[in-house]
Symmetry: C2
Subunit: 269 residues, 2 copies
């Protein structure tokens, strides 16, 4: 396998949520070629079993590796939580994922060592955030977690600043606030779109950690280390592969990506 | 293919929602053998494209036909809306589906000829309810539709009588009430669990049509016509096939079925 700076970065997710990660990578690394894969025919993964999620993750990783990517980014907290080892074991190129990046940032930012984590039920149940935070700081970190299964459908409905979403946020976040956290990890790639609303519910005493931003820093550092950063000059190519083009895909996808989706191709795995 | 009264009825859905249909059939026809199939690895279908839903429906129908079922019931409004023809074309046994049953009941019950329909986005977009109601009464029926994508995740979260669900119901139903409907079709198999809440939001002037009840009547009539009703005597066998056993499957499934899930088997399609 020959890797060069112009080899693409492979980014994958169960659906459109990982486009928030693609967006952060495109903003930080505007010259990189990127292949995005969203498994829109089988989304969401957050309520499926670990075995099924790992099987789907291996299929997607194999698809991207066949495109000669120089790096894989698991832009889906659920897959990162339960399928990281499965992907790393079959990949000859480095595999980065959102949970480690978010955990690392949260540990470096908290002042009172009290961190909250919100995510899908399967990400929370996996314990992956607790493990990642312990890897980066084993001592004296107080952690509190909350599964928020309704946030994904609320974001996809576009109710980003709606009374229903606000009431749901109060319901989910009140127990976290009662624990006096000063840092909250947004442990799902859909949640960055709720940042303004969550910020107003939480108040200024809690800072939000967006793992899309966190991982884009790690990607840049890793490419520099490998000497594989694509130099400025050529126009980068961004290709989006999906397994289904669902209702309102274009509208929802562009809300996540923050720009027009260009080259969208439908694949069957 | 040899069919006998003891041959099972095949009931299928994208996930657990069709268990409300299985429940209504079990209550009306307590001696029937039933094979249920829920595609829990790929649920939900309500936001996927028609082509993808039709492909999945054909796979499931083929699985059930190989089990020698005497009848197929599409217990999923989304599949009924976009994949009925695809299933009927490959099935040597009768195929019933929830949309026709619900439409028939709504037409027979409305007094002021003003009917509301709530369903997932893809069921609404398909126009299948409008077509079915026109088949049963082409003249002077006023119809108003509303897609309610948040009701499914709210039901699965178990917020059946929660302020968030109530506020969401007001948001979705207010435009229907403004149209002075007297009948509302629950066009998704998840919605019967919201009956008490929807009833209190709508008031006593609107009657709810539950297609699970409607289809169980059609199943009984069809079996009598075919002379294939299983006689009382033997203990019926109920088998549940799923493509994944997700988080909280048992709890959510039993909420829909209204009783313990006995024999659950995991299949890969």
């Amino acid at each position: 396998m020959h890797l060069s700076p112009s080899s693409p970065i492979g980014i994958f997710d169960s659906g459109v949520g990982g486009l928030t990660v693609a967006r952060a990578v495109m903003e930080r690394l505007p010259h990189e070629n990127i292949i995005y894969f969203g498994d829109t025919a089988r989304v969401p993964y957050g309520v499926k079993s670990s075995d099924t999620v790992a099987r789907f993750a291996r299929q997607i990783a194999a698809f991207l590796l066949a495109k000669q990517v120089k790096m894989l980014i698991i832009a889906c907290n659920t897959m990162a939580a339960v399928a990281f080892d499965a992907v790393r074991d079959l990949s000859p190129v480095p595999v980065l994922e959102v949970i480690d990046a978010g955990a690392r940032t949260a540990v470096s930012r908290t002042k009172n060592h009290r961190i909250g984590i919100i995510a899908t039920p399967s990400t929370i149940a996996s314990g992956a955030y607790l493990a990642a935070i312990q890897r980066h700081d084993a001592n004296g970190m107080f952690l509190v977690t909350q599964a928020c299964p309704l946030f994904v459908p609320l974001v996809e409905e576009g109710w980003l600043d709606h009374p229903v979403t606000r009431l749901t946020a109060f319901e989910y976040l009140t127990p976290l606030l009662a624990q006096n956290i000063d840092t909250l990890v947004l442990g799902c790639t859909h949640y960055p779109l709720l940042k303004p609303l969550l910020g107003s519910v939480l108040g200024s005493g809690v800072q939000l950690v967006d793992s899309a931003e966190a991982i884009s820093l790690r990607v840049e550092a890793m490419l520099e280390e490998m000497n594989l950063k694509n130099p400025a000059g050529s126009e980068p190519e961004h290709v989006f592969h999906v397994t289904d083009v669902p209702q309102r895909f274009q509208e929802i996808g562009e809300r996540f990506l923050g720009r027009a989706l260009g080259d969208v191709r439908v694949e069957s795995l």
